[in-house]
């Protein structure tokens, strides 16, 4: 594939989180993971909750993304994220504690027969964040 590079940008609603040249970017697309290499044809995709991997020659940068969009055009991949967190900023202890708390709340909701779908979502988010953080550490 030679030396051709791809500019990857991660843009949140309130600031640009990341803008660097890379060899490849992998994002959680609508129908599974999408890998983008340089010279990709122009594309816009919906992104779902998951991890972003930005591959460089000697290292990989990880991000957690809640959801958003990806635009690829002329060797430039722009990720518009409603919420994105760099893996190194995720604190596993905090996530674990939050998960305990959420699980307890779900149990309570179950007993009372209340709706706990939003709690499940929250738990899912936290689990994904934890997974991304652990993967990045390896």
């Amino acid at each position: 594939m030679g030396d051709r590079k791809l500019t990857v940008e991660v843009v949140a609603a309130d600031k640009v989180l990341y803008a660097e040249e890379a060899d490849m970017v992998v994002v959680p697309g609508y129908e599974g993971e999408l890998g983008i290499l340089p010279l990709h044809i122009p594309m816009v995709s919906i992104l779902t909750r998951g991890e972003i991997r930005i591959k460089h020659k000697d290292h990989i940068d990880y991000f957690y993304i809640e959801d958003g969009f990806l635009e690829v055009k002329e060797d430039r991949a722009v990720i518009l994220a409603s919420e994105a967190i760099p893996a190194q900023e995720i604190e596993p202890e905090v996530e674990l504690k939050a998960q305990e708390e959420i699980k307890r709340m779900i149990e309570q909701a179950k007993e009372k027969g209340e709706d706990f779908s939003s709690l499940l979502e929250e738990l899912n988010r936290s689990l994904t964040r934890l997974r991304v953080a652990r993967k990045a550490k390896k």
Partner: protein, 292 residues
């Protein structure tokens, strides 16, 4: 004596006030810079979003989305952006007045107007007037995206459920450091933007999973962006308005101190003159009695 002391105490008081207003002015000046930087930082997201929105509107056909639905307007939601604190000139009263005008206009057209308020000042004003506030959003001075999200979530869900048929934002538009314009902006129903550059567009996108699906997901995020943008504008305007108001106050305090110092000097002079006259008179009197 007492008059002199009175003036002195007043000067002291005014000086203290001046110190406070001066500090507030400087704090506000620092915050404007931050707020402006945040507006800048939010631009790339908004611009990219609008860009995608324009090309997707060309590609997608016949998308049915609750946010694109146009209904006969019977119920209107007005979202008012005010500050949590006062001492910022006409910042709050300007948007409040505009809101009242808007409410009057819409009501006269036979529509029912509901009011949602951001910021303590707007809340206490309409609460005091006895106007019903359907939703009050407490937003910190940080004005973060997450906080703005609860506002846009409410707008999106209530419009989708046909609770309202039109939604307006009323906020201070940040024109420049010295000019903030109270603005009303109709955010819903959305007018799908068809770009004028349609024919010269060269990029043919691959839509994943489809142009319609992308547009469907994009619309609510677009509302988020607009609501957030207004919040940032309002925050920057608030600091700018406060800085101007505090600068005025500081200048006025200075003017007052000058005037008071003048009358203090006059009072002191008058007292000295009076004392001198008394001494001279009594001396004369003693001389007169001795001479006898």
């Amino acid at each position: 004596m007492s008059k002199l002391r009175q003036i002195k105490t007043r000067i002291k008081g005014v000086k203290k006030t001046q110190q406070i207003t001066k500090t507030m002015e400087m704090v506000a000046a620092a915050r404007i810079k931050k707020a402006q930087a945040r507006m800048e930082a939010a631009r790339p997201y908004a611009l990219k979003m609008i860009e995608i929105m324009e090309s997707v509107a060309d590609a997608a056909e016949d998308v049915k989305h609750p946010l694109l639905e146009k209904r006969e307007v019977n119920n209107v939601l007005v979202v008012l952006y005010t500050a949590n604190r006062g001492l910022c000139g006409a910042f709050n009263s300007n948007v409040i007045r505009l809101t009242e005008k808007l409410i009057e206009r819409e009501t006269s057209l036979g529509r029912k107007v509901s009011l949602a308020v951001i910021g303590r000042k707007g809340f206490s004003y309409f609460n005091f007037k006895g106007f019903e506030i359907v939703k009050y959003f407490e937003i910190s001075d940080k004005a973060e995206y997450k906080e703005s999200k609860q506002v846009s979530d409410y707008i999106i869900s209530s419009y989708s459920e046909a609770q309202y048929d039109a939604v307006y934002l009323v906020f201070n538009h940040f024109k420049s450091l010295i000019r903030q314009i109270p603005t009303e902006y109709r955010i819903l129903p959305l007018e799908p933007k068809v770009s004028e550059r349609k024919n010269e567009r060269t990029t043919e996108y691959l839509w994943e999973p489809s142009a319609e699906a992308v547009l469907y997901e994009l619309l609510p995020r677009y509302i988020d962006t607009l609501v957030f943008r207004a919040l940032l504008e309002s925050a920057a305007s608030e600091h700018a308005a406060r800085r101007a108001a505090m600068k005025n106050a500081t200048d006025n305090a200075g003017e007052m101190i000058r005037a008071l110092t003048l009358s203090m000097n006059k009072a002191r002079q008058a007292q000295i003159t009076k004392e001198l006259t008394e001494i001279v008179t009594s001396a004369e009197a003693i001389k007169f009695t001795k001479g006898k």
